[in-house]
Point group: none
Chain length 84, copies 2
DNA sequence: AGTCATTGGGGTAATTGGGGGA
DNA sequence: TTTGTCCCAATTACCCCAATGA
């Protein structure tokens, strides 16, 4: 069967929790605090975008990250963004 | 090739399930509960409107773009969290 | 006429949400 | 301040097997 696959990959709270090595409740608090975008199922359970989680996981260089981001955001078009 | 109109695209339970990252049975429960409109085949299987599914997916994705807070919120006392 | 993946139905564990307290 | 754990209620996931769809 064919899949018109153009959907974002979603993660369950348990998966995000094990990725960060925290309790699922903690992930829920991040979503409540607005630190994580959450998509809710029709029953109220949350699902998280895998792309966003991975971006947060890869944000290891925090200190100078903000300034570097601002720097690269407005210059050098053409050699970044390699995903999807 | 069968002509697919451009207004009524129907999705199978498996497709809706992978969109929401849930089990196909869960999608069936949503249809039973009236949370999703379902079109039944002559044999009793359900089909769902892609437009409706997409609307529900985006409905709850009110992205809280407070991501910067997570990055530099640790050094800005005075104006955060005012709940509890 | 067949195969084979998917779906429906029912029932039972596991996960999740929300509030509260350590 | 952030996280982990307690409670309970609701939602979801996995098990079976028979019927449908392609």
């Amino acid at each position: 069967m064919s899949f018109h696959g153009d959907s974002e990959v979603l993660l369950t709270p348990a998966e995000v929790a094990s990725l960060f090595r925290v309790d699922p409740k903690t992930v829920t608090r991040w979503a409540k605090a607005g630190k994580l975008s959450s998509i809710r199922t029709l029953g109220g359970h949350r699902r998280y975008k895998e792309s966003e989680v991975r971006a947060l996981l890869g944000a290891a260089s925090e200190a100078a990250e903000a300034e570097a981001a601002a720097n690269a955001a407005a210059a050098d078009p053409g050699k970044d963004d390699r995903q999807r």
